[in-house]
């Protein structure tokens, strides 16, 4: 197959998506064998009696972007939510296996969930800003811990909004309701809000699925910007997106992790047939 990048075409028309490293924006030098910051071993997960995850093993490399792909309902979100224990908020769930963050078991009873969730930020599929001002949204996390003074908080809010590429659009309306922003702006605000916690890992669950192409491009740019400074785990159903922005791609199917490797490997030389079938658009 010829390694030509055709990014603008829909997946189904492609024999195979090629990853042209030259075409990647702002290539960041990442050590090939980056140490994993999140290490998942033998993770099983049940919603009541139905099992949603089966023996998942995955290492998330530090400072890189890991994309989780797979057909709808295969357990990507479930897996993501296991990483910051958001699944704890659901009735009747059960979990076994280990999830380690920086070598510490996240599910150890002594772990402070509140602190864990500060270290592991999360952005949801649907933009969900609080019905408060833009400023209050970003300041929400720091204010929970009451660590910062007025000035530091102002600086942090500005920094996070700049990081989320939202500062120029919002600097004059910080005290206005966040609900007045457009969908893409709202999602970037949610990212800024997560960044304000100064997390180590950022979990993004299909952050662009509710957005138009323009806004999607902005979020992708943003993920690119954040790459290196934050470890990012991102669920996406859009394979070009995975190919464009991720360093590592993990393919889930029916609750199992089929394959996880460097993105260019997964998209060019997948080792499993299911992966090949999925990324060539034969199902899903």
């Amino acid at each position: 197959m010829t390694p030509t990048a055709v990014m603008s075409e829909p997946t189904s028309h492609l024999g195979r998506i090629a990853v042209d490293s030259a075409n990647r924006r702002a290539p960041v030098e990442v050590a090939d064998e980056a140490e994993p910051i999140v290490r998942v071993r033998n993770l099983d997960f049940w919603y009541g009696d139905t099992q949603a995850l089966f023996g998942v093993d995955l290492d998330v490399p530090k400072g890189q972007v890991t994309a989780l792909i797979g057909p709808s309902g295969c357990g990507k979100s479930t897996f993501l939510r296991c990483l910051d224990r958001m699944n704890d908020t659901i009735d009747g769930v059960r979990i076994s296996g280990t999830v380690e963050l920086d070598g510490q078991d996240v599910y150890d009873p002594r772990v402070d969930v509140v602190e864990l969730r500060r270290r592991v930020g999360m952005v949801f599929q649907r933009p969900n800003p609080f019905p408060m001002s833009i400023y209050d949204n970003v300041a929400f996390g720091p204010r929970l811990r009451k660590e910062l003074g007025r000035k530091e908080l102002d600086d942090l809010v500005e920094k996070c909004l700049r990081s989320a590429a939202l500062w120029d659009e919002t600097r004059d309306r910080l005290d206005q309701s966040a609900l007045g922003l457009s969908g893409g702006q709202q999602q970037r605000l949610c990212i800024a809000r997560a960044l304000a916690n100064q997390p180590e890992v950022l979990l993004l669950d299909e952050p662009c699925s509710a957005l138009d192409p323009n806004a999607t491009a902005k979020i992708e740019d943003l993920i690119f910007e954040l790459r290196g400074r934050y470890t990012i785990v991102m669920v996406t159903h859009n394979m070009q997106q995975a190919a464009r922005v991720s360093d590592v791609t993990a393919f889930f199917l029916k609750g199992r992790l089929v394959e996880a490797d460097r993105t260019e490997v997964v998209f060019t030389r997948p080792s499993k047939e299911e992966t090949e079938n999925y990324i060539t658009g034969r199902f899903g």
Partner: protein, 737 residues
């Protein structure tokens, strides 16, 4: 084709469903509108003003001379009393003379020089030229002839001489009445600066039926001769002097002395200075009207002072109510009077202090009276004819002043808000202030909401945000079960269980919420110190199951030790202590008892609505908050409560609406005393309970009946406004989200 047919059918069904829903909505609106319209229709006649239909008057011959006149209830016969002591009865339809009676048994040459008819009619006090004074009781009674035509005659008159000395004292000012077995007579001798009060007591021999009258005469000196006088009830009397003084007198309990009453006036009023022309008592003899030179009319009444003596109080004064004010005529049934001028009259009502419209009066009139049924005003003209004018009084004693302002009622120590719709006697004046009922309604609601709103809202928040799965469902269905308890059961519980049980443990009951809240905080603090492995086992609200028995034990202990606690701390029960120390009155069935019992009705309602409001906050928001590292509590307070606030306020207001409209619980668990007091240790009467108590007894179409409808309208408006506000808050809040 088939597809189109099914489409059409579905369309039709859609339209039908929409139509039914719309019809239902319109039905509800219609029902509410109908109810409001019905209440308004029943209450509206209260706004009508008294009318005299001068244009429909008829004139009947009665005869030209005489001291007094009167008419029978159907205004078909009229009588007059002549100076010769003859009662002449004439048919007012055809002018025929029906009867003549001489009840007074005068000596030869003795004539009547003065006479006065009591306000209730039927009793005439008459003085003779020789100085004798008698009270005569007689009635005009109908008789049916062979052709069933109605004619009239006098009943047998009872005449009792209360002053039987023929010493020739010229008595021209007198007033007399009969009160059960007592006869009262007040009189003044022409030119003498004295007033006399005579009490006659009737003793009837049960065997022979023979009557014995014992008479006692008291006198008091006046600064000047009396211009006119009138009796009050129980032997009180008011004398007006030609120099303008108006004095009240009252015999002492043993009828030894006639004591003067001090005089006072309502703030802003001063007794007039013009010489007194006439003093007339209103029906019931609880107050008098005084006519002064210079067209001034005043309303005076005796009212009790703190030391149980009476003072004469000037309640109202009117300047120039009519041109050339001469006298007043009073209604035989209510506190309505007619100010009589030279050529016009005016209707007034003394309680509300109101004057209504004017009506012409033939100059040179001899007397004016209102027929017993208050439907005809009879004017005895100078030419000896009576002019009979149809009258519609409507409801002159029911005005906004009587409903909503303090009124100086006869016999009360000061102007007050009083609801006391019925009394022992026919001349009793209904007291219909709605203020005690509104205050009672709000007080009951307040004490019901005070404990139940915090419990309901905190419980709802806990249930919505902290409880999980089956525990939450269990709590919810339990609370819904509570909501289903009929209020009559709660009222029963409040009256027969709570009221006597709480009696000697109010301190514990009042302390209970505080103690439980402190205990919860303390246990929470301890809980946070427990190792996490322990705590995790009671995750998701299961810790509450540990707390519950603890709370029950604590509450039980506190309530059990209540009487002991009060004894130890205060030396006596809290209620007695409050009474002794601070003179706080206490009643067993009080607002706290009702508040508690009503709490069982209000709490579940507010809980259910508030829980919905909390749960309707999008899960997105609480997830975002939790994912940012907020604790459940921080999430609840910062993210869940603000958007739920409109719903929560709406829930509370619906609870308020329920408490305001609640009937059965207050009816049973309070004493239903219509007092105007916010004291939680006393009872109260709500608008709704008042309706339940009084409406079945009220005479249809009477002022009280219509006032009850007015109060129903008020209640309707209160609950309607509260519910409307709740809906408004809710809708506005939803738009904002």
């Amino acid at each position: 084709m088939a597809r189109r047919a099914s489409d059409r059918r579905r369309n039709r069904r859609d339209r039908l469903a929409a139509g039914i829903v719309r019809l239902g909505g319109a039905g509800v609106v219609l029902a509410v509108a109908f109810l409001a319209a019905f209440l308004v229709r029943e209450a509206l006649p209260l706004a009508a003003r008294p009318e005299i239909h001068d244009d429909r008057a008829r004139v009947a011959p009665l005869g030209g001379d005489g001291l007094l006149f009167g008419v029978d209830p159907f205004v078909e016969a009229g009588w007059r009393l002549t100076a010769e002591g003859v009662l002449v009865l004439r048919d007012l339809r055809d002018g025929a003379t029906l009867a003549e009676a001489r009840p007074f048994d005068l000596a030869a040459g003795e004539r009547l020089v003065a006479a006065r008819l009591a306000p209730s009619g039927g009793v005439v006090a008459a003085a003779t030229s020789t100085g004798r004074v008698a009270l005569a009781e007689f009635r005009v009674v109908p008789e049916y002839g062979d052709d069933l035509a109605r004619t009239y005659r006098f009943s047998e008159a009872k005449v009792r001489w209360l002053r039987d000395e023929a010493d020739g004292a010229p008595i021209t000012r007198l007033d007399g009445d009969v009160e059960d077995d007592r006869l009262w007579l007040a009189y003044a001798v022409e030119g003498e600066a004295r007033v006399h009060l005579v009490r006659g007591r009737l003793k009837t021999n049960r065997l022979t039926g023979a009557e014995r009258l014992s008479v006692k005469d008291l006198a008091a000196d006046l600064p000047a001769p009396a211009a006119d006088l009138a009796l009050l009830d129980h032997g009180g009397l008011v004398v007006g002097l030609s120099d303008g003084a108006v004095l009240g007198f009252k015999p002492d309990r043993r009828f030894r002395t006639l004591d003067a009453m001090p005089t006072t006036a309502a703030s802003g009023l001063e007794p007039g200075s013009g010489g007194v022309l006439a003093v007339r008592s209103l029906v019931g003899r609880g107050s008098v009207l005084v006519v002064r030179v210079g067209d001034v009319l005043e309303h005076h009444l005796p009212r009790p002072r703190e030391d149980a003596t009476l003072e004469l109080y000037l309640a109202h004064a009117w300047e120039a109510p009519v041109r050339g004010l001469r006298d007043v005529a009073v209604s035989p049934r209510q506190r309505v009077f007619f100010a009589l001028g030279e050529d016009e009259l005016r209707i007034g009502q003394s309680t509300a202090g109101r004057l209504y419209g004017r009506s012409p009066l033939a100059p040179g009139w001899r007397g004016v009276l209102l027929a017993p049924r208050e439907d005809v005003l009879a004017v005895w003209q100078g030419d000896g004819a009576v002019r009979l004018e149809p009258v519609e009084l409507h409801y002159p004693g029911f005005t906004w002043e009587t409903w909503f302002t303090r009124i100086q009622y006869e016999g009360l120590p000061e102007p007050a808000y009083v609801w006391q719709s019925t009394g022992g006697t026919e001349s009793y004046e209904p007291k219909v202030s709605l203020v005690p009922l509104v205050v009672g309604t709000l007080k009951g609601a307040l004490w019901a909401l005070l404990p139940s709103i915090p419990i309901a809202l905190l419980g709802a928040l806990y249930c919505a945000r902290f409880l999980r799965g089956r525990a939450r469902e269990a709590v919810k269905s339990f609370v819904e079960l509570l909501a289903g308890i009929p209020s009559v059961v709660l009222g029963f519980l409040g009256a027969l269980y709570l009221a006597p049980k709480m009696n000697d443990r109010y301190l514990s009951v009042l302390l209970l919420p505080l103690v439980l809240a402190l205990a919860a905080l303390l246990l929470g603090a301890l809980w946070a110190r427990l190792p996490i492995q322990w705590r995790r086992r009671f995750h998701g609200g299961r810790a509450a199951w540990l707390l519950l028995p603890l709370f029950f034990l604590l509450a039980d202990f506190l309530l059990r030790s209540g009487p002991g606690l009060e004894g130890w701390l205060l030396g006596e029960p809290l209620t007695a202590w409050l009474r002794d120390r601070f003179e706080v009155p206490f009643e067993q069935r009080n607002a706290l008892v009702v508040g508690l019992a009503m709490g069982f009705a209000v709490t579940p309602l507010v809980f259910t609505l508030a829980e919905d409001a909390f749960r309707n906050v999008p899960r997105d928001l609480s997830e975002a908050s939790l994912a940012l590292g907020a604790t459940e509590w921080q999430t609840a307070v910062r993210v869940v409560v603000p958007p739920a606030l409109p719903g929560v306020v709406a829930a509370s207001m619906i609870g308020l609406g329920r408490a305001v409209g609640e009937t059965m619980i207050v009816l049973m668990a309070t004493g239903n005393t219509p007092i105007t007091s916010w004291n939680p240790f006393r009872g109260f009467r709500t608008l709704s309970a008042n309706l339940a108590v009084e409406l079945p007894e009220a005479e249809k179409g009477a002022g009280l009946y219509r006032t009850l409808f007015l109060s129903a309208l008020l209640l309707f408006a209160m609950t309607f406004v509260v519910n409307l506000a709740a809906e408004w808050v809710r809708v506005r809040g939803r738009k904002k989200l």
